[in-house]
């Protein structure tokens, strides 16, 4: 990488010699200090649980499971960010998971096999596509009532919470639908639902190249316009840390092996000789995490790089200004709920695939976890503020707490108390932080 210092064009460069805090220095260089803080909190949680649990938290096995458990909530939390940023709320996502999940289960178990033949390789894709369309339609329906009829989103989606839960039951008269299509099951990240060692390294490598390309292109663009560049060392640090995190995660995922009996079964099926000392087949990145990664990228792109995302934030910041600027605010609101519906469908697919079954109670209370993840991740319920990576981190923090408490044997009631306290504390700290920052 060529080392070119910032051209001394803009007068807003840091005044040399003046003492500045690290925080404001990072902020000037467009680094989200809040996010850095959250990562620190997450690591602290991990270390604390690691010690209390006697060294079982920061292990490939636990982290692998943690990542899978986080996925379905985190996928929805990215959509909830947009909904909340636009000054709305969606209380119906948990029930929508129930309805959409149930429909997808019935489709692949009862409706499609007679039409296409049991085990047809397209069943999983058609099921998923129909689920996504259904999610988008439900979202569009609720969003239209909110935007065009003017019923508050709290009420519409509170109604939706009841309605879609009812439909989840009605779809199969309350039966449990199982097992899922063999290919569909992979979406849930079961013993086969992972990328494997080589595939995981390839994904990690591509992600690293992406991170570096992003940083280099950012510099090039800023140089083209003669803007102040980040100090080169900071960009290098960002690149190195980003790549290290990605490759480290791949390494952890690859350090979790297929359980022994499954490994032996796998070896027998594929005529692999079992070496002395046991067979170690790395699982690699589970598919739900891969899906989450794809969703995170897509949603970040939509939020930061497309007009739609900017309009959502403008509406959240000042709805009147947005409409005076000629933005079609109602249509934009409907779109946010459609995006939410699509993400609900993807999350529902992951959930039923992971459970290998669909029950009418699927997704119960998910709306609260999703909203909590978004809010812990820095989304302001007043609207206008929120980030996609923040929401994913929020989901990860919550799941880490929950998994950690399970590991150290805390009972369910105490877990609920702890999560509730953490939610309120996180938002309280955030409010204080924002008030200080505003001054």
């Amino acid at each position: 990488m060529s080392v070119v210092e910032a051209p001394p064009t803009q007068p807003d460069t840091l005044e040399p010699g003046s003492r500045r805090s690290l925080g404001s220095y990072l902020r000037d260089n467009e680094i989200d200090t809040r996010m850095v803080g959250m990562i620190a909190v997450l690591l602290a949680i991990w270390v604390v649980f690691h010690f209390i649990s006697g060294g079982t938290f920061i292990t490939p096995r636990n982290l692998w499971n943690l990542s899978v458990q986080t996925s379905s909530i985190a996928i929805m939390a990215t959509g909830m960010v947009l909904v909340i940023v636009s000054r709305n709320i969606d209380l119906s996502v948990g029930s929508m998971v129930g309805t959409v999940g149930m429909v997808m289960a019935v489709l692949q178990v009862e409706w499609l096999p007679p039409l296409m033949g049991l085990g047809n390789q397209w069943i999983w894709l058609i099921t998923l596509a129909i689920g996504v369309v259904l999610g988008a339609l439900i979202g569009a329906f609720q969003g239209s009532i909110i935007a065009y009829v003017g019923v508050p989103s709290f009420i519409v989606t509170l109604g939706g919470l009841l309605v879609w839960r009812g439909f989840a039951w009605l779809t199969a008269s309350g039966r449990t639908i199982a097992p899922m299509d063999a290919a569909f099951q992979l979406l849930g990240g079961g013993s086969n639902g992972s990328l494997g060692e080589t595939g995981s390294w390839i994904v990690g490598g591509v992600a690293c190249v992406g991170i570096i390309a992003f940083l280099v292109m950012g510099r090039r663009r800023r140089r083209k316009f003669g803007f102040r560049l980040r100090p080169t060392w900071l960009d290098v640090v960002l690149g190195v840390v980003g790549c290290a995190v990605v490759l480290g995660a791949v390494w952890v995922m690859n350090s979790y092996y297929l359980p022994e009996n499954l490994a032996i079964q796998y070896a027998e099926e594929n005529d692999i000789p079992i070496p002395e000392g046991g067979l170690q087949i790395p699982l690699g990145i589970p598919y739900p995490v891969l899906i989450l990664g794809g969703v995170a990228l897509a949603m970040t792109f939509v939020t930061n790089r497309l007009r739609f995302g900017r309009y959502v934030f403008s509406i959240g910041g000042n709805p009147e200004a947005a409409s005076l600027a000629g933005i079609k605010t109602k249509r934009t609101i409907v779109k946010t709920f459609m995006v939410m519906g699509i993400l609900v469908a993807i999350s529902a697919a992951v959930s039923i695939a992971r459970l290998n079954a669909a029950v009418s109670g699927l997704g119960t209370l998910n709306e609260l976890y999703v909203i909590a993840a978004a809010v812990i991740g820095g989304t302001s319920l007043a609207g206008g503020i929120g980030t996609i990576p923040g929401a994913i981190l929020g989901a990860l923090v919550m799941q880490s707490l929950q998994s950690g408490m399970v590991l150290i044997g805390v009972g369910a009631p105490v877990q609920d108390v702890a999560l509730g306290v953490v939610l309120v504390t996180a938002v309280a700290i955030d409010s204080i932080y924002r008030r200080r920052a505003a001054r």
Partner: protein, 264 residues
Amino acid sequence: MNGSTANGTPLVEMRDMSVSFGGVHAVKDVTIDLRPGEILGLVGGNGAGKSTLIKTLAGAQRADSGEIFVDGKEVSITTPRDAKAYGIETIYQTLALADNQDAPSNMFLGRELRTRWGTLDDSAMEDATRKIMGRLNPRFQKFKEPVASLSGGQRQSVAIARAVHFNARILIMDEPTAALGPAETEQVRELMRQLKSEGIGIIMISHDIHDVFDLADRISVMLQGKLVGTVNKDDVTMDEVLAMIIIGKMPEEVTTKELEQLHG
């Protein structure tokens, strides 16, 4: 000085505009016009209908009846986008800024620059914002911070930059100096004179009669939704305009006694 503004086709003419809200006439049969390079002061007490009238021109409020002509041609303005397409830009008293977003995002709100892939071109937008701010308010440096963290004057300059950047031919300013300190007010006044000299027509709503007398070429007065009349600034006194605002009488109708009572 009225010679230069008294000829040619009006830039904008609003004829017999009426707007009512649930049977109450907010604006009734109002006709005003604006010529190139002219500042028209639009004055009146609270609830006189000034803001409602200009909102119909800005596309933020639909009129029940009336016609709008731009360059002598009748046009239909039903959305803010329509108005902008005719070169009509509005600076609202509230400034209409998305407080959570930075200056470039606000400047291009609804009219974002995009790359050839259809994605937002933030660098190009920041560049354009830096350029126009260099002209309007050279001391402005906060291009990356949410406009909520800017001072009143800085926010005002973002709102003005937004209107000016898109080659406004007709500028509507609702209370342009109400929230500003003396230095900033002078800056805005200077800018208005400059825009006027470039041939832009400005409709200025103001409570401040001194401001209006200082800047406007003509003054239109509204009272209770109706137009009292339009006068050349040079032909009237401040007291006569006050009489129009308060008792709705034109300078030729008003008596000396009534003028004296204004100060009583």
